[in-house]
């Protein structure tokens, strides 16, 4: 029963978000879709960070890889000829459907994570954090200027957009995969290394191998989430996948409680909701009366609320517990 | 008001870590100038008791009094400054600092620097290695020397009560004997001592009184005359 709940909680929340999204005006639908995409990215991040206890600043790179590839291969070649004629031949001429593009996004995310992880998963602690940050810096720099794999300093727009339900379906896949991994032998082994590395090593667990596996899966899910992102927003630009995304998604994870899948989902939805509401409220929102907040309230409030919740409740909103786990 | 004779009193002390009880209601008194032993098997709650006295255990219940003054809710540094010094298990000396710097860290808890030179001279006399190797890195000392340094460091704080957590751990028997002799000298300077040990018989023979702790509770109190009474001791250990 409890196991069913653990998975059902997050999925129900996602489904509810998607249901509201498909039932309301298209403008606000976008807010819910953005929140869903954030859930996917944060859950992908959780698969590695939550289970291993090692912070990664590099995940936005995998999101970027998925987003760039999924975006480029679904744009129609005629437009690409106008906008980004310098692309690699394959990218310039390819045009495939939404679902295969998401599969490609997951594949490229996994591939990139493996390439990065093979050397870097030998590191722990702060050096690991800084090394993954360096990966982010390299990715951002190359995406910003290399015209063969994307628009460079420009923005590419016109990527086909997906419906709320297909985005929600993608998010559910990410959550189910994360949950399946967490319940698997590998997930348990990795969490054992998080709790007590020495004991885990003594019982024959290779920390390196377990981390690499989680990193690869996490990269695949991040790539998939990137694909969802690009099909939600419709544009590609390197700025989307740099410091802001990195810090916001990490903050969402910690804010919700980095020890649980439920925490990842709740954190992503809570901060998205707050951010989105305040962004609207600065432009007047009807909450029974017309509420208009001063410009910039959003930025200050989001920062303050994040800091405050962490101070009051360092283990995050959910305390790192799974849905349904709080009763005994 | 006359000073109470009890230097340190524990009353109904309880400690729990994440809901798991480690100490379940201990009453214990260390009289002025007394050496009181606390022995018991691994995980019986000995170290937790000492940490609770120092204010370093999470939210303990019950009370700890130093010459009648309650130490409830005080931070470790405050307790140390009121005159309780702990020689922690495993010594916890700073191996990257010099021996002299380690000793100087002991000054942190002194209420005044009056008589500091005297105390240092006394400590140097008690533990000549501390003087001899003062400019060496503490990490270069042998286990026994490190233990001497840890006690020396506690003593220069000029404590009223000295808490020792398994000082004999990992030391050769002859060194342990010498160590216990030194404890006697320290007591003679008016320092009350609570000695936590695994070497039960040795402790019982040496201390004025020795309590046996098991499963977080006191089971038995023995005097030096009971040192040979292994049957009662074993029974208490197994209870």
């Amino acid at each position: 029963m409890r196991r069913v709940l653990e998975l059902a909680g997050p999925i129900a929340l996602v489904a509810a978000t998607a249901a509201i999204a498909s039932g309301i005006s298209s403008a606000h639908q976008l807010e819910f879709e953005t929140a869903l995409v954030m859930v996917a990215i944060v859950v992908a991040l959780y698969v590695f960070v939550g289970n291993s206890g090692v912070i990664s600043f590099g995940h936005a790179s995998f999101v970027a890889a998925g987003a760039y590839l999924a975006g480029l291969v679904t744009l129609d070649p005629e437009t690409k000829n106008f906008t980004t004629p310098g692309l690699f031949h394959v990218l310039l001429h390819a045009q495939i459907g939404l679902v295969p593009s998401l599969a490609l996004a997951a594949a490229v995310g996994a591939a990139y994570a493996i390439v990065v992880g093979l050397p870097l998963m030998r590191l722990s602690g702060l050096p690991a954090g800084i090394a993954t940050f360096a990966v982010l810096g390299i990715t951002y720099d190359v995406l910003s200027y290399w015209g063969k794999i994307g628009p460079g300093v420009q923005t590419l727009s016109g990527v086909p957009e997906a419906s709320s339900w297909s985005i929600a379906a993608g998010v559910v896949i990410v959550i189910v995969a994360a949950y399946a991994y967490q319940r698997s032998r590998f997930g348990r082994m990795l969490r054992a290394t998080r709790e007590d590395p020495a004991a885990a090593r003594a019982s024959g667990i290779s920390i390196y191998r377990q981390r690499l596996l989680a990193f690869a899966l996490s990269g695949a899910l991040a790539g998939l989430a990137g694909g969802l992102y690009v099909h939600q927003l419709g544009i590609i630009t390197p700025e989307l996948f740099y410091l802001d995304l990195t810090f916001v998604t990490l903050a969402m994870l910690v804010f919700g409680g980095m020890g649980s899948l439920w925490g990842a989902v709740v954190g992503a939805l809570a901060i998205s909701a707050l951010n989105s509401f305040l962004g609207d409220a600065e432009n007047t929102v009807d909450v029974g009366f017309h509420l208009t907040l001063p410009n910039g309230t959003r930025l200050v409030t989001v920062g303050a609320v994040m800091a405050l919740v962490l101070i009051l409740k360092p283990s995050g909103l959910t305390g790192g517990r799974e849905f349904g786990r709080w009763r005994r | 008001m006359s000073e109470p004779e009890a230097a340190l009193e524990l009353e109904g002390l309880e400690v729990a870590y994440r809901g798991v009880p480690a100490v379940r209601g201990i009453d214990l008194t260390v009289g002025r100038g007394e050496i009181v032993g606390l022995v018991g098997p691994n995980g019986a709650g000995k170290s937790s008791t000492l940490h609770a006295i120092m204010g370093a255990a999470p939210s303990p219940r019950g009370d700890v009094r130093l010459y009648g003054r309650s130490l409830r809710g005080l931070s470790p540094e405050r307790v140390a400054r009121l005159g309780v010094a702990l020689v922690p298990e495993g010594r916890h000396i700073y191996s990257s600092l010099t021996v002299e710097e380690n000793l100087r860290l002991g000054y942190a808890a002194r209420r005044s620097h009056d008589g500091l030179d005297e105390d240092v001279a006394w400590v140097h006399a008690l533990f000549p290695v501390v003087h001899e190797f003062e400019s060496r890195k503490a990490g270069a000392l042998s286990g026994g020397q490190q233990q001497q340094l840890a006690i020396a460091r506690a003593l220069v704080a000029k404590p009223d009560v000295l808490l020792l957590d398994e000082p004999s751990l990992g030391l050769a028997p002859t060194i342990v004997e010498r160590l216990f002799e030194t404890l006697g000298e320290i007591r003679d300077r008016g320092v009350s001592i609570l000695l936590v040990e695994q070497r039960a018989q040795l402790t019982i023979a040496f201390a004025d009184r020795t309590h046996v702790i098991a499963n977080g509770a006191l089971k038995l109190t023995l005097g030096p005359q009971d040192a040979g009474d292994t049957a009662r001791l074993t029974a208490a250990y197994l209870s």
Partner: protein, 403 residues
């Protein structure tokens, strides 16, 4: 904290969040005007990095709309501007554009940087709306960045190809500078294009480029660039960068080395907010829409600046004029379509603009360039942190930078 408290907290937070999202979702109602105005929906930044460009342009547009309406509007219909502040958040930018479409705006208005504008611009363009940026300086609000639907996009900024060319012509013909060092900030396509255009035109005129230096703003490369540039001997330095930390660092760095070589830039150097205090800015020239130092050659522009000051927001750079010009251009296009607001009809007229008079002077578009060219630039000269208008220049033609 007990378990039940935790449950309650989590549930409460989830509930509040759902509530927040739901209230936002409640559609906003707007009273529809009796006369059925032609509505321009702006999605711009009024808080973050683009605010100093977007806000004055928006204000100028609103002032100009008042004038258009005072003289009878378009076929009796008034113009109306509504706006939302996106703070450069891409998701919000897109959402607000969709919100504008729900409010049935006729024309879209976006921020002055194509990267930040994209989510909104794409939404407006896809919906078949004429989409205007008041001061975007690249040629990208067009098919170049948006493919076919980009035919409905136009910017009333000066296109980099024209601005760089005008700067080169001023340098070579007026100042008789024969050699130049080019310093390009690769942060934005706009900077790159201005420097490319300067290079092309300067060489066409017979000038010689001594060196090409590149850097990327915010990446702490500027001090090495200063050292390298200081070792080049040339009559002038074309410097293409702006608004950030590196422009004052470059200018004060070079002048501190007693290098007094004239520096020239486009609109990106407008405004006095960046002037270092010591050493002061000297031998510095830039081209802009309007002089904000009270000495603009056009009395109409000076009067307009007075109005902005009265509205509480005196112009900091000449860029506001793009906002006013855009309204003039829109009005003209609407006049030509007899009030037809379809994007296709309006764009078909706008793309044919040749020397159309606006508050900012004559503007032209072409099927290739959807951003203004042919405008008369104000050349501003700064000596000792004192700026003044020196000359009006118009490029003979936009430079061909290979696009």
């Amino acid at each position: 904290m007990s378990r039940s408290t935790r449950v309650r907290i989590v549930l409460a937070v989830v509930g509040v969040c759902a509530g927040l999202l739901a209230t936002t979702a409640a559609a906003r109602t707007d009273g529809t005007a009796a006369k059925k105005p032609i509505v321009i929906g702006a999605v711009v930044d009024l808080t973050k990095g683009m605010a100093s460009f977007d806000a004055p342009a928006l204000l100028a547009a609103q002032l100009e709309i008042k004038k258009v309406n005072a003289s009878g509007g378009i076929n009796g219909r008034p113009l109306k501007m509504i706006y939302l502040n996106d703070q450069l958040d891409p998701a919000k930018t897109k959402q607000f554009a969709v919100q504008m479409l729900q409010k049935k705006v006729d024309i879209g208005w976006v921020t002055c940087d194509v990267n930040y504008a994209s989510p909104a611009a794409q939404t407006f363009l896809k919906a078949g709306k004429l989409t205007i940026a008041p001061c975007l300086g690249t040629d990208e609000l067009s098919p170049i960045a948006f493919g076919k639907i980009g035919q409905l996009g136009f910017s009333y900024g000066n296109v980099a190809q024209d601005e760089g060319a005008a700067a080169a012509e001023f340098a070579y013909k007026t100042k008789h500078w024969k050699t130049a060092t080019i310093v390009t900030d690769d942060l934005l396509r706009y900077f790159q294009d201005v420097c490319k255009a300067f290079t092309v035109r300067f060489q066409q005129l017979g000038g010689k480029i001594v060196a090409q230096e590149h850097f990327t703003q915010f990446k702490n490369q500027i001090n090495s660039v200063v050292s390298r540039v200081n070792n080049e001997k040339s009559d002038a330095i074309a410097f293409c960068s702006s608004f950030g930390v590196d422009q004052p660092a470059f200018v004060s760095g070079l002048r501190s080395l007693n290098n007094q070589t004239p520096i020239i830039n486009g609109w990106a150097s407008d405004g006095n907010y960046w002037w270092p205090k010591s050493p002061k800015v000297t031998n510095f020239y830039y081209l802009t829409y309007a002089s904000v130092y009270g000495d603009d050659p056009s009395p109409k522009v000076r009067a307009f600046e007075a109005e902005m000051k009265k509205a509480g927001h005196p112009a900091q750079t000449g860029g506001f004029l793009g906002g006013a010009a855009a309204i003039d251009g829109i009005a003209k296009a609407l006049f030509l379509t007899h009030g037809n607001t379809s994007g296709k009809a309006l764009a078909a007229q706008m793309v044919k603009f040749k020397h159309v008079l606006t508050l900012s002077g004559y503007v032209s578009f072409s099927p290739k360039l959807h951003t203004v060219f042919g405008r008369a630039y104000r050349v501003i000269e700064i000596q000792n942190n004192h700026a003044q208008f020196v000359k009006l220049v118009t490029a003979s033609s936009p430079a061909n930078i290979g696009r």
